[in-house]
């Protein structure tokens, strides 16, 4: 396991101390990415000018409300943005290789080996008329490069099932209809890991699960991260799950990145984006402070009719005149904690006396 820069100094299983700062292997680099839907004046940008880096060993959370562009961003990492969406500016690099520059076939090979995704509707990811085992056989047959010996592949899959807390012998001969929603979700995670990707992407892995299954998925992902050393990027709207699982967090609002940093910076730092603050204060939780939550007033803006200036300004209790005129830049402090807010960043912009 490498580079768990979450600022919590969590003891790792193998006793390796987390390195300081952002050293290590950069697995995924998103650089000025814009994803557009439609053409010309009618087009909307679901993702706009987003840059972020996922390092080996990260558990990276991509957070935001419905329609903020978080899933679209995740899809663009695998070059699977559904049409008519397309990457209209910027680039995604995986292990330093630009997805733009690669020929189709090599792109497939790179992504196949490096990144795999568990979709939100993982419950519907299986063919209902053949057993889980047969589906795994199909995958192994299509990718002889990973397991030349298919028996070995099957053994590895069974090992993965154990890691996701499922009984291998029972799952192999099951049809998807014989499994509960929570079990299917975990089988989907095991199948996705079969070809040994470096990065596991999960779209809303805990949404629509009950508390027990949420807890299981959180524990299992943490476990996979430790035992397989896998890097995880997950998309969610649930900040409680972020607090439990993530080491690093990027928060999106209306297509733009508004804050990014370690999980502790996001939840504990004094310098926080008002939107993130509002999100955290809007979660009813079992904690005593969960009794004094407040909804976020207003609505997420329509991407086709974005306000001038900061996109959150119409809902922001701290908005100033400048917020309604100029889009705030994403500024970092010494610790590389990024916030895009005029009010919060005011002090950073003032030259030191």
């Amino acid at each position: 396991m490498t580079a768990v820069g979450d600022g919590l100094d969590r003891p790792s299983n193998n006793g390796v101390a987390p390195p300081q700062g952002r050293a290590g292997v950069k697995l995924v680099e998103v650089d000025g990415l814009t994803v557009s839907f439609g053409e010309g004046s009618g087009s909307v940008r679901a993702v706009e000018d987003v840059s972020l880096s996922v390092y080996e060993g990260d558990i990276y959370a991509l957070v935001g409300e419905s329609g903020c562009g978080k899933s679209t961003l995740a899809y663009s990492l695998l070059d699977i943005v559904p049409p008519p969406g397309r990457i209209s500016a910027g680039d995604v690099r995986v292990r330093g290789q630009s997805l733009k520059s690669l020929p189709r076939k090599e792109l497939r090979r790179l992504l196949g080996a490096e990144i795999a995704i568990v979709f939100q509707a993982a419950m519907n990811a299986f063919n209902p008329v053949i057993t889980i085992g047969e589906q795994v056989e199909h995958i192994l047959k299509a990718h002889p490069e990973v397991f030349p010996d298919r028996q070995e592949g099957r053994a590895y899959f069974e090992h993965l099932l154990e890691l996701v807390s499922l009984p291998p012998e029972r799952i192999w001969d099951s049809f998807e209809s014989q499994l509960s929603g929570g079990m299917k979700q975990r089988v989907a995670i095991a199948v996705t890991l079969l070809l040994k990707p470096s990065v596991l992407v999960l779209d809303e892995p805990t949404t629509a699960l009950d508390v027990l299954n949420q807890r299981l998925v959180i524990d299992i992902l943490r476990d996979l991260h430790e035992t397989l050393g896998i890097t995880i990027l997950f998309v969610t709207h649930d900040l409680a799950v972020v607090a439990e699982l993530a080491t690093r967090v990027a928060v999106m609002y209306a297509g733009r990145l508004v804050e990014a940093g370690t999980v502790r910076e996001i939840f504990k730092s004094e310098r926080r984006h008002p939107y993130v603050e509002a999100l955290i204060n809007a979660i009813p939780s079992i904690l005593d402070r969960g009794l004094t939550v407040h909804p976020i007033g207003g609505q997420v803006p329509n991407l086709a009719e974005l306000p001038v200036g900061c996109r959150f300004a119409p809902r922001c209790p701290h908005a100033q005149e400048i917020c309604r005129r100029i889009e705030p830049p994403l500024l970092a402090d010494d610790e590389d904690h990024l916030v895009a807010c005029h009010v919060v960043n005011h002090q950073l912009e003032v030259p030191a006396r």
Binding site: R10, G182, V211, Q214, R215, L216, L239, A240, I283, L287
Partner: protein, 363 residues
């Protein structure tokens, strides 16, 4: 006054199954009272919600509404009961007919129950939209569900229930399909109606956080595979759970604070919460950290523990010995390993968790 009484209700969807979906459920909800049903998927909470709404007929037992057995209601009385109990479903994407405009969907009930005439319908509908915080315009009434966001749809579903002037609302996981940011707004809307109209609520959820927020001053029933294992006043059950299942469920909930999440971390919780319910003895004995011979042979009854709290456990004091209150967190005085040496000495394993001494929080 008691609005709703559930008397010894048992239900099986499949007559041959060894385990009923609901077993001997007792529940009463007063006017202006809120009772939450909490438990994992498959515990029967939604079935119970459907039974009290009259959507499912129980295999055994009686449901009384304002004193009358609902199975015996006919004609006008039956219609009046139908109107008085309204359900708000979990999924606003499937609970609204995609082929009907919002106006048609909302109007049908009002006309059916004589709460509006063709002439007054539009005025009534606009007033209702305003009450639930939606755009109160004729244009909105002409929209279809697919043109609305999840939060707007759920407001329409609430409007549909509220517009019939019910006395009891059965709210089934009304926020679980919504963005976290929208949950409080929807809960606040329901709370507003609860306050203004003194409605009774049966509030179904697997999320203790949402339940704690919504049922302040109310009661919680914790269900496990069709059986009520604990019940009592909200703060009592959440702050001082007495059944091990309640305790484990509370521990399983993710909390929006990375430091507390780390302190609360306990891999045993998920392990304990898995596995089939026991067919013999206490239904929770397969998963329980305290299970003994007695638990495997005998079914523990719901026992009164004072303060209106009841738990179906032979050892309701053991949970208290386990840990600090689950709703707080904060630093522990005595970190590290907890032993099983107390109590009867033969308890199963206890959780071993890293205490704050083993970590260094920066900043």
């Amino acid at each position: 006054m008691t609005l709703l009484e559930v008397d010894q209700v048992t239900h099986r969807y499949d007559a041959g199954s060894p385990r009923p979906v609901l077993r001997n459920i007792e529940l009463s909800v007063g006017a202006d009272e809120v009772v939450a049903l909490v438990g994992e998927s498959g515990c029967g909470k939604t079935t119970l919600g459907k039974i009290v709404s009259g959507l499912v007929e129980p295999s055994n037992g009686t449901i009384r509404f304002e004193g009358a057995d609902i199975a015996s209601l006919r004609g006008k009385k039956r219609r009046s009961w139908r109107r008085s109990v309204q359900m708000v479903h979990q999924d606003p994407y499937s609970s609204l007919n995609p082929g009907l405009t919002i106006g048609t969907a909302l109007g049908a009930g009002l006309l059916r129950h004589g709460l509006a005439t063709r002439r007054t319908l539009d005025t009534e509908l606009l007033a209702i939209l305003r009450q639930v915080g939606l755009d109160a315009t004729p244009d909105f009434l002409r929209r279809y569900p697919h043109q609305l966001s999840g939060g707007q749809r759920q407001r329409v579903a609430i409007a549909r229930a509220i517009s019939l002037q019910p006395e009891l609302i059965v709210a089934d996981e009304v926020t679980s399909m919504l963005d976290v940011s929208m949950r409080v707004a929807i809960l606040d809307l329901l709370l507003k109606f609860r306050r203004e109209r003194q409605l009774g609520f049966v509030f179904i959820s697997h999320d203790f956080g949402v339940v704690r927020y919504f049922t302040q001053g109310g009661r919680i029933l914790v269900m496990f595979y069709g059986v009520v294992v604990e019940q009592g006043p909200t703060e009592q059950v959440i702050g001082d759970p007495r059944h091990p299942y309640t305790y484990l469920l509370l521990k399983a909930i993710p909390v929006p604070d990375p430091d507390l999440a780390w302190e609360r971390r306990d891999v045993e919780v998920a392990e304990r919460l898995q596995g089939e319910p026991s067919l013999r003895g206490c239904i929770f004995s397969n998963r329980c950290p305290f299970a003994e011979e007695r638990c495997r042979d005998h079914v523990p009854p719901l026992v009164d523990l004072g303060n209106g709290q009841q738990a179906a456990c032979f050892f309701p004091d053991r949970v208290r010995s386990l840990d600090e209150p689950v709703t707080q967190g904060g630093p522990h005085d005595a970190p590290g390993v907890r032993t099983a040496a107390d109590e009867d000495g033969d308890c199963a394993t206890r959780s071993v968790r890293p205490g704050p001494a083993s970590r260094h929080v920066q900043g």
